[in-house]
């Protein structure tokens, strides 16, 4: 009888039915929103500063921005990163429908997108440093490397996470399945968040 009472109560108390791990992930991502918020605010408030002692004192924001060209490279990278959110959804759909092959294929595709994005970012950093803008010598460089660097670190953590999922899925073929996909969904949540943040950073740093 007590069991029936508990079941009744649970019906009226949605909190008790939520998945434990997913709830934790959402809470953590809530905190991350404020983390990137603080980063972006820092960038917005400091980007216009031309340091008196800077070796590139004659280079203002527009001057630095010209280094990005027409943002072709970054736009392609942004497109790739956003696409990876789609492939992640497909990977999760694969595991939910017990289609292991589809799951692994799209998970691999997501990882590939992430790696390409990181490679592009490294290339871009190299290019900008080569043009003489470093994290030290002007404020735009400082905030640029700081904000994009932290985002890149998040992408890198995501790639490691997804790789560990893929390795685990290959070593234990039936570990993730239609009845047990929470680990994949959690990795996906994080991955979507990192993609979404890039939309904000791309807009703030490269477009406006």
């Amino acid at each position: 009888m007590a069991q029936a009472v508990v079941r009744d109560i649970d019906k009226n108390d949605p909190g008790r039915g939520l998945d434990l791990r997913k709830l934790g992930m959402w809470t953590f991502l809530g905190s991350e929103v404020f983390f990137f918020g603080a980063l972006v605010v820092t960038h917005l408030s400091m980007r216009g500063v031309v340091a008196p002692s800077s070796s590139k004192a004659n280079l203002d924001v527009t001057g630095v921005r010209n280094l990005f060209g027409d943002n072709v490279l970054t736009s392609i990278l942004a497109f790739i990163l956003l696409t990876s959110s789609l492939t992640m959804v497909l990977a999760l759909d694969g595991v939910k429908t017990n289609n292991q092959k589809r799951f692994r294929f799209w998970l691999g595709a997501t990882i590939a997108c992430g790696v390409i994005f990181l490679g592009g970012q490294v290339y871009e950093f190299y290019h900008i440093v080569h043009e003489g803008v470093t994290i030290k010598n002007m404020m735009f460089g400082s905030t640029f490397f700081f904000v994009t660097g932290f985002h890149g670190t998040h992408v890198a953590v995501g790639v490691v996470w997804l790789v560990s999922l893929l390795v685990s899925a290959i070593r234990h073929p039936e570990r993730y399945n239609a009845g047990n996909y929470m680990a994949v969904e959690l990795g996906g949540l994080y991955w979507h968040f990192v993609d979404l943040v890039w939309v904000l950073i791309f807009t703030v740093i490269y477009l406006i």
Binding site: F34, S45, V49, S54
Partner: protein
């Protein structure tokens, strides 16, 4: 009740013995005890630093401490009390009692809970190791205003240790808060609706949200600072175009919610103790709960009242002054609810009750000086003076510390199964109350007479000598009171009278189980029907407060080495980061070793989750 059925179910968990039992534990109660004991040790260390400050300032032109040493001591006093004493004592009580009060078997993520504790300990060690390895402790104040923190003005490595210590403490708090939030949403006993939760649980819930939203701001701030000091950036250095005010905004966007992070759990414990010792339900439960939420929300809109002196402009000053005064409304609501709880109650002046009443009185004094400081013109007159020091000690010591001592007396019987001595406890309270007021009340006068804070000494015959001497004498009374508490603690632990399940005749679920509770907390599942399950069962009729589900199988995760290994990896990582810029040939290998240790811990952790899917 609980003892009748204690033989029914016992979760067979293989336990390790001795010290291994403690370092591998994932039991929220053991972790809570470790939190509280560690935090109390830091409280004593921070208190000794306070005594040094007061000895130095006791007489004019004193030369006990050099100016450099004084800077280190007052910086470490503030940092220790905020991050390593009050916050973790709160975390300790939350850890121990939130699951018990909502009728849960453990926290949502037991292993992550252990990690939170180890990161607290390691973060504190990193911070204090600066005395030995850093050439000196942090010396730019707990607020770390730029450009004092620059390598020009803070020449030792102290501030780098401060940053890395805080990073570990930040991860600890973030993980701890996520844990509390998920535990409260997800692990409440059946029928323990949100509007039936004990108010301490409510305040823990609000505090945890404040932490997850406030911590990122200081995390960004101290990371920028670390780059400034180590990698040649100029974020906060005005000479190179940086902006010291950016630091203040990032710091106080965290720092002001932090004030509520320290005080809201104190509000929570007082809201538990007052009804029990007034023999009445709390007056206006909803108002006490929701005013806590209101304080939490408003707490994010007032940070710049710490920055009135930085010339933000009239509009900004007006907004932040008005928002700050607005907070006194929900705070006042709580105070009137507490007073109304006492009204016509059958008051029992046990030690926890004395501390609760002391808390209300002292907090109101601090609240009134706080409202006056919210008025920008007044603030400009007394900013950076001892008036401010007096104000925040009245809210944080008179408020939080009094409430937490009360909580220690209130919950000691549950944790140890023994009562604390009432006689020594009352001595403790009265000496503390006297010493506290003797120390901090004269500081109002000092501030109004213009004595600036953060100075290492002062000239005589400015009218400051007498009040400073009083304050110093008072600080030794506080130290003596703390000694009395320690003596009481040790004596009671050895010879205290047996407590039984429910020595105070209290209303909430933690008193339904044995003292100390078994590893799995409850032998049965309670189905909750009211806000005061124990009282309603006892005084309104069996089954009115709660009923029992005997078909209940508690599940506990086994002990684990993973949390301490992973945390140790992050601990080593901090030392690697410290050497990364100055000595990369040492720093990089240390970082690699640290990452390897963290990986071993993480790998173990993931393996254990695969066996037993609780984080």
């Amino acid at each position: 009740m609980a003892t009748d059925v204690s033989t029914l179910h016992h979760a067979p968990a293989k336990q390790r013995r001795g010290w291994l039992e403690w370092i591998t534990t994932v039991d929220h109660k053991k972790i809570g005890i470790m939190y509280a004991v560690t935090a109390f040790l830091f409280f004593v260390i921070g208190g000794l630093e306070a005594l040094l400050i007061r000895l130095q300032l006791g007489t004019p032109q004193n030369a006990l401490l050099t100016p450099e040493a004084y800077n280190q001591v007052f910086t470490m006093h503030g940092t220790t009390m905020v991050f390593m004493a009050i916050m973790p004592i709160n975390a300790g009580f939350m850890n121990y009692f939130v699951p018990l009060m909502i009728g849960a078997g453990d926290m949502a993520y037991p292993r992550m809970n252990a990690m939170s504790y180890w990161l607290l300990l390691f973060g504190g060690i990193v911070m204090y190791s600066s005395f030995v390895f850093g050439g000196g402790a942090p010396d730019a104040g707990w607020f770390a205003y730029a450009p004092l923190t620059s390598t020009t003005y803070s020449v030792t490595r102290g501030m780098d240790y401060w940053v890395l210590g805080l990073q570990l403490l930040g991860v600890s708090s973030l993980a701890g808060s996520v844990n509390i939030i998920v535990t409260i949403i997800r692990l409440r006993a059946p029928g323990m609706r949100f509007n039936r939760m004990p108010l301490f649980v409510w305040m823990s819930f609000v505090t945890s949200f404040l932490l997850i939203f406030a911590l990122p701001s200081i995390t960004v701030g101290i990371t920028l600072l670390f780059f400034d000091r180590n990698f040649g950036t100029n974020f906060f250095l005005p000479a190179a175009g940086g902006d010291p005010l950016l630091w203040q905004h990032l710091f106080w966007f965290f720092g002001h919610p932090e004030v509520y992070i320290m005080i809201l759990p104190a509000f929570g414990v007082v809201s538990e103790m007052l009804p029990v010792f007034s023999r009445k339900p709390i007056f206006g439960y909803e108002f006490v709960a929701y005013s806590g939420v209101a304080i939490g929300v408003l707490g994010f809109t007032v940070w710049a009242h710490h920055m009135f002196a930085t010339n933000l402009g009239v509009i900004a000053d007006t907004f932040f002054a008005a928002a700050s005064m607005l907070i006194s409304v929900p705070t006042g609501v709580k105070i009137f609810n507490w007073l109304a709880t006492l009204w016509r109650g059958e008051l029992r002046f046990k030690t926890p009750m004395l501390f609760s009443l002391g808390f209300i009185a002292m907090f109101v004094i601090g609240g009134i000086s706080g409202v006056s400081l919210a008025a920008a013109p007044f603030d400009l007159q007394v900013t950076d003076s001892y008036f401010v020091v007096a104000h925040f000690h009245y809210v944080l010591f008179g408020g939080a510390v009094f409430a937490l001592f009360g909580a220690a007396y209130y919950w000691f019987p549950k944790i140890t199964g023994k009562m604390m001595s009432e006689r020594i406890g009352k001595w403790h309270f009265w000496i503390l109350l006297l010493g506290f007021n003797l120390t901090f009340f004269p500081q109002h006068m000092l501030g109004l007479q213009g004595m600036p804070r953060r100075v290492w000494t002062y000239q005589q015959n400015q009218g400051w000598d007498f009040y400073n001497l009083l304050s110093t004498i008072g600080s030794f009374c506080i130290a003596f009171a703390t000694l009395v508490f320690i003596v009481n603690f040790i004596i009671s632990l050895r010879k205290g009278a047996p407590a039984g399940n429910d020595p105070w005749d209290a209303a909430t679920l933690e008193w339904a189980t044995t003292s100390p509770p078994p590893a799995h907390n409850f032998d049965v599942e309670y189905i909750v029907h009211s806000r005061r399950p124990l009282w309603d069962n006892k005084y309104s009729g069996e089954g009115r407060g709660m009923t029992i589900n005997y078909d209940f199988h508690p599940h506990l995760p086994p002990p684990s080495y993973a949390p301490i290994i992973f945390s140790f990896g992050l601990f080593v990582l901090a030392y690697g980061m410290l050497n990364l810029a100055s000595a990369p040939l040492i720093g990089i290998p240390i970082i690699l070793v640290a990452l390897a240790i963290a990986f071993v811990g993480m790998n173990r952790w993931v393996g254990e989750i695969a066996q037993d899917p609780v984080l």
